[in-house]
Amino acid sequence: MNRLSEFLIGLLFGWGLLISGMTDPGKVLGFLDLAGAWDPSLAFVMGGAVLVGLLGFTVAKKRTRSFLGSAMHLPTARDIDRRLVLGSLTFGAGWGLAGFCPGPALVAMGAGIPKAALFVVAMIAGMLLFEMLERRIKLTSGASSKRT
């Protein structure tokens, strides 16, 4: 039951990305190009998503178990630190360079777009690089910093 719902929600999220136009890097870059011919569509995507999300999370925060009875895995990290800001700045640079963020890239790869597949391979390499760097930092400092 859990696996079925995760699959279906993944499917639905992919549909949302396709319908909204987020899987089209041209559209994303049109939003990020404030100084050019600006396409404000992405603000409407975020607006619609957060509007519904607010309702969902307001209910979710009050629950101790999910509808299917599993524990609630809500993030606990609260600190605004260098990792958060530098990581997000790095992500934004990559986003602006190609117009892909992780979800739309995976969906476009599923549509059989070769450049999206190339992006996903590079993205996974970037994530593996992060794991390697994390392990090195942990080995040298002995500190563990686990976040969600």
């Binding site: 696996r3 995760e6 279906l8 929600i9 993944g10 999220f13 992919g14 949302g16 319908i19 909204s20 136009g21 890097p25 041209g26 050019g36 600006w38 396409d39 404000p40 569509s41 995507v45 619609g48 998503a49 957060v50 509007l51 519904v52 999300g53 607010l54 309702l55 969902g56 999370f57 979710a60 925060k61 524990a71 993030p75 609260r78 990792r83 800001v85 990581g87 997000s88 790095t90 992500f91 640079a93 986003w95 360079l97 190609a98 117009g99 892909f100 979800g103 995976l106 969906v107 599923g110 450049k115 992006f119 391979v121 993205m123 996974i124 970037g126 994530m127 690089l129 794991e131 976040r147």
Partner: protein, 145 residues
């Protein structure tokens, strides 16, 4: 400011956004998890983790979205416009992979879910990647070009 009226698609954007919100709300209510793509994918790459199956099923759904939607409503599946060359694509992928893991989230986890949770941390992250995205496109299209 110049609005690109040709490509501006408020209704499709709003409808798609609502679908994204429904999926995110459903994921936290039904499965008790935050729908963050970089975290879901990245979690598969962490050694000694035993929670691979739900991640795989979710990602499988995501990847099968275009095929399934083209069966129901082919007009909703557009063709992406990709201007970036292969070198830029690889560089962008590396930056996105590294950055999202280092910053603990992307457009879905911090942007949609984080803002919906009213998380100050996610608001900072979202402002940071938006600002960086704006700056990068400005540099590429209006300074270097």
């Amino acid at each position: 400011m110049n609005i690109d009226w040709v490509h501006f698609s408020p209704w499709a954007a709003l409808t798609g956004g609502i679908v994204l919100g429904v999926a995110s709300a459903a994921f936290v209510l039904v499965n008790g998890r935050v729908l963050g793509i970089s975290g879901i994918l990245g979690g598969l790459l962490v050694p000694q983790r035993s929670d691979a199956s739900w991640r795989v099923f979710f990602l499988l759904g995501l990847i099968l979205a275009p095929a399934s939607l083209s069966l129901i409503a082919p007009e909703l599946v557009g063709t992406p416009r990709i201007d970036a060359g292969n070198v830029s694509i690889v560089a962008a992928g590396l930056l996105v992979g590294l950055g999202t893991r280092y910053g603990s989230g992307c457009t879905s986890g911090h942007g949609v879910c984080g803002l919906s949770r009213l998380s100050p941390r996610s608001l900072v992250a979202t402002l940071a990647f938006m600002a960086s995205g704006f700056a990068t496109v400005y540099l590429i299209r209006h300074v270097l070009a």
